[in-house]
């Protein structure tokens, strides 16, 4: 197993949670009683990813000290996670009380979700000692990658899912950005003489998901789940390789 497995979990699960809200900020969410499921799932993902981040620390008890240094990668991620989590929590309370989401809260959660994705990119961009991480491609990996990861979860919380033409467009765009991010990493890792197979496998799986998004006009359940699996597995394979240092 990779030594940085906690970071893999943090960026994969936290990225999915943040990416989902970032996408929903420009879409119309379902307004039925099930709306509350989104913040519940997002918080579960965030809590697991948060615990994973603690697992990365040799002395987790000192984690709070990080908040005194917001300009460092980990500090930025810490603040990003806390603020994003706060708005997801507010969303949860509103959805539970009113049985439908509040758009302003969704937009704010989306903005902080995007900020969390930027923080993740920054945390790797500043790692100068690992050549394949310390470059601008890390921003693409985590911002575009996070948005792509948000697609399959967001699909369950938009009216008509992939049957909604606006969502199809946003979803296709986000997954295309994910493919671009993996191709950029393919170039970076390849340029350093490192294996690029995982990025190519990830890019192919995401490209298949991209096509399925476009053809899933009737929002078929099995295609929706197939897209879910393709995006998560594709991104997980690529990220796993990213962390193989």
């Amino acid at each position: 197993m990779i030594s940085e497995f906690p970071l893999f979990l943090f960026t994969l699960l936290g990225g999915m949670s943040a990416g989902t809200y970032a996408l929903l900020a420009v879409l119309k969410r379902r307004e039925d009683g099930d709306a509350v499921i989104l913040p519940v799932v997002a918080l579960i993902l965030l809590v697991i990813s948060g615990f994973a981040l603690f697992g990365h620390l040799g002395r987790p008890a000192g984690a709070l000290q990080v908040m005194g240094h917001p300009t460092t990668g980990i500090g930025f991620e810490g603040y990003g996670s806390l603020l994003f989590g706060l708005f997801v929590l507010i969303d949860l309370i509103i959805c539970a009380a009113k049985k439908k989401p509040n758009h302003v809260v969704t937009v704010l959660a989306g903005i902080f979700g995007l900020i969390l994705l930027v923080a993740m990119g920054y945390a790797y961009y500043e790692v100068m000692g690992i050549e394949q991480w310390g470059n601008a491609a890390s921003f693409a990996m985590f911002i575009f990658g996070g948005l792509a990861l948000g697609v399959p979860l967001a699909a369950f919380f938009v009216e008509e899912g992939y049957g909604n033409s606006r969502f199809r467009l946003v979803a296709a765009l986000a997954i295309a950005l994910g493919v671009i991010a993996l191709l950029i990493e393919n170039g970076v890792f390849g340029g350093l003489g490192l294996s690029t197979n995982a990025f190519m496998i990830g890019a192919v799986l995401l490209a298949i998901a991209f096509v399925l998004v476009l053809v899933n006009r009737k929002n078929a359940v099995w295609i929706t789940w197939l897209i879910f699996v393709l995006v998560v597995v594709g991104m997980a394979i690529a990220r796993y390789s990213f962390y193989m240092i």
């Binding site: 040799g58 002395r59 005194g68 240094h69 990668g73 810490g78 500043e126 100068m128 995982a198």
Partner: protein, 197 residues
């Protein structure tokens, strides 16, 4: 002039006395080394070059920049010092340092880094690695002095982005550019990196 190290890789035969002397002086936990002798299989020429390296007390220390608890400070003489008690063991400094100079102690869950034997220096003594090398292949002090320690030694200051304060005497088996690849690995095949998948 800031402080820094000079090493003579031409005469170093990889006995690792410096590495062990440093460990025995500062750390009790086996396998935790602040100075490490790396084997560099150079691009040209025969044989292996041994490079004994610890922290190079860079002018622009990345360790200091990325540490999320502010454990690092740069003293007026240029020494980059870590406050070990503050460390929460996130390993950011190890990953950010081009040479992966800080070292992680699994048993403590925290990181250690060379301070050029600050305690010994305040007592008027030389760093332990310097006095222990049987070939006198390591020097530490003000850069203008250590630069003269070995004939023809060159600085890697402008080779690596952090501005490391290290002078290296080398022959054709080791290129200054090779220091861009000398990271945490014990053996570095300069110019070729293993595949991962």
């Amino acid at each position: 002039m800031p402080v820094g190290f000079a090493i003579n890789t031409v005469n170093c035969f990889g006995c690792k006395t410096c590495q062990l002397a440093c460990e025995n002086t500062h750390l009790q936990n086996p396998g935790v080394f602040m100075r490490r002798v790396r084997e560099v299989n150079a691009t040209e020429g025969p044989g292996t070059v041994f490079v004994s390296m610890a922290c190079n007390h860079c002018d622009d220390p990345q360790c200091l920049k990325v540490c999320p608890v502010g454990a690092y400070t740069k003293l007026t003489d240029g020494t980059v010092v870590q406050d070990h008690e503050k460390c929460i063991g996130c390993k950011s400094c190890i990953m950010a340092c081009p040479f992966h100079a800080p070292t992680f102690d699994e048993s403590e869950g925290a990181t250690y880094k060379c301070d050029g034997c600050l305690d010994r220096r305040s007592a008027g003594l030389l760093p332990q690695c310097v006095i222990s090398c049987p070939g006198a292949n390591i020097q530490f002090g003000n850069l203008d002095e250590v630069a003269q320690a070995y004939d023809g030694a060159e600085s890697i200051h402008d080779t690596v982005a952090t501005g490391p304060n290290l002078y290296v005497k080398h022959n054709e088996n080791l290129d200054l550019d090779d220091f861009k690849h000398i990271d945490g690995r014990e053996t570095v095949d300069v110019g070729s990196v293993d595949g991962w998948l």
